[in-house]
Symmetry: C2
Subunit: 226 residues, 2 copies
DNA sequence: CTCATAACATTACGGGGCGTAACGTAATAT
DNA sequence: ATATTACGTTACGCCCCGTAATGTTATGAG
């Protein structure tokens, strides 16, 4: 048990320069087995022993590569999320629809009953939470963000837009329906959502705004005078 | 071990007509203790033994009333969600803002780190999932749905609206930000979101739509020609 | 070739929490 | 008085996590 400093040689990535080298096959097989178990049983019922059994590996071999269940699953899921493409056709409606479908596709690749308990589990530890966000949350978001940015630059979207808000309004819908499963999220639905956000759902928005100002004097007080 | 049929007398609500009656104080104290532990430790680290300890009760006493951890926590949280009010001032902007804030308030009453793992836990069993939806998911939703319905009836929102979609677009935003905590959801943000959905974010939506039709021939093929 | 190092498989362990069982006691209906 | 059920206490079986111990095997350094 040499005191080698803080860098742990047991972690994925950093191999020591001496001793028997790791069998690279084991890492791959374990990740595949992890995905298989996730698909069949979900995160909650995934046990390390089952993964080891399927991979033809052993528990210690797994713990040599990943510090805990969370990281193992994060690593496995990361292999499923290829780099997000960001279409740039110059057609804002087209690009946004396509972009949202990147979200949808990402969620379809991961079975219901996986993402939520995983996040819940990661949320406790800051470092695991960070990894979760970087690995699973940010990438599809960034793709859509890029398209929104381009649309604003083209002048297709209002320049004073709260980009984060719009991004979340589109992304959250997909997430929400994927999570609760109370309604499907089809290509047509995506299109409707994009249309709604871009075109608005009011029959006469300026009139509504004027009315609101009449009633309240100042639109900022909406929430207060219920 | 009498075979009394399918109705289990051990459940909350149905008391048998003979034998020692339950101490009603215990049920209340346990629910209070459950909420306290939830607030301090979250769902994942809530243990029945800790709840029992705080309530001055015992594990068997708890399991006599609720079949498992899920149901106990669901019952406890239900006591925190009062009946949702649905403002009806005739001002669509005002009502919607107020309505969304019902969502926000509901989520604020429940600490982060509670709802998600609870749902993840409930999702496995259909009956528990149903209880979750009925208790925690539907009520605030129904309130906002009612307001959307009234706004459509007034003619303030387009009659051809996909009500479920709009409802989810507003509700999911709150949920999303509460869950991931990457951005706050303030009263101003709620107002911006409502404004965005009602008024639209495009500078010239009809022009965008026309352009999209030019490019694709048929707007239904948006998602396909990336 | 010899030695240090570390991965490998196998086995076993400590620990925590769930949900239940066993037992004696207390309270209520008939 | 008797049956029934709740109560507290204690203990149990179960499952799974993450680690440790042990002997063996593969590699780099000298």
């Amino acid at each position: 048990m040499g005191r080698l400093g803080l860098v742990q040689p047991r972690q994925e990535g950093r191999a020591p320069r001496t001793g028997r080298p790791r069998d690279p096959q084991i890492g791959r097989t374990v990740l595949d087995a992890t995905l298989a178990v996730l698909d069949e049983a979900g995160y909650t019922r995934l046990t390390i022993e089952e993964v080891a059994r399927r991979a033809g590996a052993t528990k210690p071999a797994i713990y040599r590569r990943w510090p805990d269940r969370r990281r193992l699953v994060l690593a496995a899921l990361a292999t499923r999320l290829g780099t997000a493409r960001t279409p740039d056709t110059g057609c804002t409606l087209c690009d946004l629809n396509e972009g949202i479908n990147v979200f949808v596709a990402a969620f379809r690749r991961i079975r219901p009953g996986v993402l939520e308990p995983l996040f819940a589990d990661c949320a406790a530890e800051p470092e695991a939470r960070e990894t979760f966000m970087t690995t699973l949350f940010d990438p599809p978001r960034a793709a859509v963000a890029e398209m929104i940015e381009r649309a604003v630059a083209r002048g297709d979207l209002r320049a004073d837009l709260d980009r984060e808000l719009v991004l979340d309004m589109l992304g959250s819908l997909v997430h929400y329906r994927a999570l609760f499963g109370h309604a499907p999220i089809t290509g047509d639905q995506v299109e409707s959502a994009v249309e709604a956000v871009l075109g608005g759902i009011a029959t006469d928005y300026p009139a509504l705004l004027a009315h609101s100002r009449e009633v309240a004097g100042d639109p900022r007080t909406h929430a207060a005078h219920g």
